[in-house]
């Protein structure tokens, strides 16, 4: 019997007060349709809730959707909590309205990619597939 590779597990999260969840939900569905296991947190998650959900769900990737401009306050805090919990190898991507200078800062914090409005689902899916940590070897 052959072991198939473990499915990529993704946490799609909406941090902060922003309620615009169209993008997060569309991306979550697209990743699921692309064969990934997707957990969607729902709205108004604190960085602590997101880090804790990522640990519990043992995810390979976290997608943060922020359209309110609060990314500079929220994303570095998420990255700090992930490091503290030993999840340095979890891929973090951000979707939303992020000015280029802020995107550079997020990249220095360890964010893999920022997907601005107009990004294609195909590009997001392909990026996650090629950048998550290697799947653990089958036992």
């Amino acid at each position: 019997m052959t072991e198939t590779a473990r499915k990529i597990r993704v946490l799609v999260a909406k941090p902060g007060l922003d309620g615009h969840d169209r993008g997060a939900k569309v991306v979550a569905r697209a990743l699921r349709d692309a064969g990934m296991e997707v957990v969607y947190t729902g709205l108004r998650q604190t960085p602590e809730m997101i880090a804790s959900a990522a640990l519990q769900e043992d995810v390979d990737c976290i997608g943060l959707s922020i359209l309110s401009g609060a990314h500079n306050a929220i994303v570095p805090r998420v990255m700090e909590l992930l490091r503290a919990a030993g999840m340095n190898d979890v891929l973090v991507v951000v979707g939303g309205i992020v000015p280029p200078e802020d995107a550079e800062m997020l990249s220095r914090e360890g964010v893999g990619a920022v997907f601005p409005p107009g990004s294609s689902l195909e590009a997001i899916t392909a990026y996650i597939r090629s950048h998550v940590r290697p799947a653990p070897a089958a036992p």
């Binding site: 007060l17 969607y40 195909e122």
Partner: protein
């Protein structure tokens, strides 16, 4: 950060055979003729004349010949001081009404110094923490002489109380105040998701404002029943129309249950629609909206006053249609969308700024947006005659289709037990999420084209945008601390106690809210007092 785009200058991939559908995916025929209309179609009965039922052609007999729509640009950012400056600028440039954009902490009822407000203060709109901020926001702007729209929902009653007291302090009589409170909580559960309390107490607060307005501020629209956000969340044009009107019917039903007479409040219910990119589909939507509202108000609710059945609406061009790529082309999109709103008979209009896919607008971008409306009003000639597209086979056929489709949705929602019950079951949320996903897939395959995104991409230079830094939160926090030291703490506490008691009982909460505002209770304190009684709402996320 690079975004994946098609090679510069290429048209969309031609692989899927071209299907002729509206933006919402509705098939469109090659040609419309008299035969496209139903055999029993009677123009005089089914379309009629402007200013007369069924109001398809507009609610006024003379429309823009007599009075142009109100040019009302939604605006607000950073501190009340900075936004006040922008308002004075826009008014000096010929804008004819104000529209306040609040920041997320205000929309969610948090003070600027609350932990949840970190990183959000002044970002998506102006920060308002207390009456003091509201007074600053309108300093030097006579509230009795201008109409003011406020986009606020869960904390709408408290924010309206602040507005009324600020106007009172300017010496304005409430009976002379004109304006609009968005105050549409149902579309928050459905689409925009800025809810605080569960549906029943939230609906009670809305009815409190409707009742208070009918008695004390009769020229103010207490609710702006909004399809805009439903559309932005990814609905079709038909879903926007159907869910918005059914929301309006829900407010009517709850108000009737309060014991109000329909003609005492219905003339002050107003609407707010999106103007998206499919030109004729949008115009058909506005025309069908007027026809449907007239029908339900008279047949279902027994309205006798013609004004109860005449649907008035504000329009905003579609934020989701704007592209971060090649942002200058957004000016063309906005102009065409605004033209659809005008040809659809809007009463007021906001045109988006070209940079709004990137940030809140700069003054220069906001000026171009306003000028776009002025060009439509004064250069194109479309205001010279009423409903110039009326009688078009295509448009009349589409208007009838919209009407029929909306009635089907009304039946489905009625069968679920009304809109509150439908929301609790996740019905409109699921319909919208499905439509949003279908549209995104159509973009992926190239079946639908977004210029500059999945076709005709180009290299570009970045645009200068407005940047709001964290200093706004520091200044708001300092002002809050000074306010809490300065005010009579015992009086503030007494007012909050009285509010809690009012919320626990059945009385209208507006008088208690006004007392809280006069005692300089903060928005966060007022919301916390209400939350202690009403509880907080958590949605079941529909993916």
């Amino acid at each position: 950060m690079k975004s994946p785009t098609a090679p510069a200058g290429t048209p969309p991939a031609a692989n899927p055979p071209r299907r002729f559908t509206t933006l919402s995916g509705v098939p469109v025929e090659a040609l419309y003729t008299a035969a496209s209309l139903p055999p029993d179609f009677d123009f005089d009965r089914d379309v009629g004349r402007p200013g007369e039922p069924p109001y398809v052609r507009g609610i006024h007999p003379t429309m823009y010949r007599e009075r142009l729509w109100t040019m009302r640009q939604f605006s607000g950012f950073a501190s009340p001081e900075q936004t006040n400056e922008r308002y004075r600028y826009l008014l000096s440039q010929g804008q004819t009404g104000l529209s306040v954009a609040f920041d997320l902490p205000t929309l969610m009822g948090y003070d600027s110094d609350h932990a949840m407000s970190e990183g959000e203060v002044g970002k998506c709109g102006v920060a308002i923490d207390s009456l003091e901020d509201m007074e600053t926001l309108f300093r030097g702007i006579p509230l009795a002489e201008i109409t003011t729209s406020m986009t606020i929902n869960s904390p709408a009653a408290a924010i309206w109380a602040m507005f009324l007291v600020a106007a009172e302090k300017q010496g304005a009589d409430w009976t002379r105040l004109s304006g609009t409170l968005q105050n549409d909580i149902l579309k928050e559960y459905i689409a925009q998701k800025e809810f605080l309390f569960p549906p029943a107490p939230s609906m009670r607060l809305v009815v409190d404002t409707i009742e208070f307005g009918a008695q004390q501020a009769p020229r103010f629209n207490p609710v702006s029943i909004s399809g805009y956000h439903i559309r932005e969340a990814g609905s079709t044009a038909l879903q926007e129309l159907a869910f918005t009107l059914r929301d309006g019917m829900e407010y009517v039903e709850w108000s009737l249950r309060r014991g109000l007479a329909v003609d005492d409040f219905a003339p002050r219910l107003s609407f707010f629609f999106n103007a998206h990119s499919d030109f004729f589909e949008e115009i058909a939507k506005y025309r069908a909206a007027r026809k449907l509202w007239r029908a339900v108000m008279t047949a279902r609710y027994g309205a006798k006053n013609p004004r109860s059945a005449a649907l008035r609406f504000h329009t905003q061009t579609a934020g989701v249609s704007l592209t971060a790529q090649q942002p200058y082309i957004n000016v063309a999109r906005v102009a065409l969308q605004a033209l659809a709103a005008v040809l659809g008979g809007t009463q007021s209009l906001h045109t988006n700024s070209l940079d709004e896919a990137l940030a809140l607008p700069t003054e220069a971008a906001a000026t171009i947006a306003l000028r776009t409306q002025q060009i439509i009003a004064h250069e194109t000639g479309v205001t010279n005659t009423v409903d110039p597209l009326g009688g078009s086979y295509f448009l009349e056929s589409m208007t009838l289709d919209m009407e029929r489709g909306a009635r089907e949705y009304f039946d489905r929602i009625d069968a679920l037990g009304g809109m509150v019950a439908a929301v609790e079951k996740g019905f409109p949320q699921r319909e919208i999420a499905d439509a949003a996903y279908r549209y995104q897939q159509a973009l992926e395959t190239g079946e639908k084209v977004m210029v500059g995104v999945n076709a005709f991409a180009a290299e570009e230079t970045p645009l200068p945008t407005l940047y709001i830094d964290e200093s706004v939160r520091r200044r708001q926090t300092e002002k809050l601390q000074a306010l809490r030291r300065r005010r009579n703490a015992a009086a503030a506490e007494r007012a909050l106690d009285a509010l809690r008691r009012a919320a626990e009982g059945d009385a209208n909460t507006m008088p208690a809210l006004l007392d809280c505002v006069r005692a300089y209770c903060t928005l966060g304190e007022i919301t916390a007092a209400l939350r202690a009684v009403f509880g907080a709402y958590e949605e079941v996320a529909v993916m």
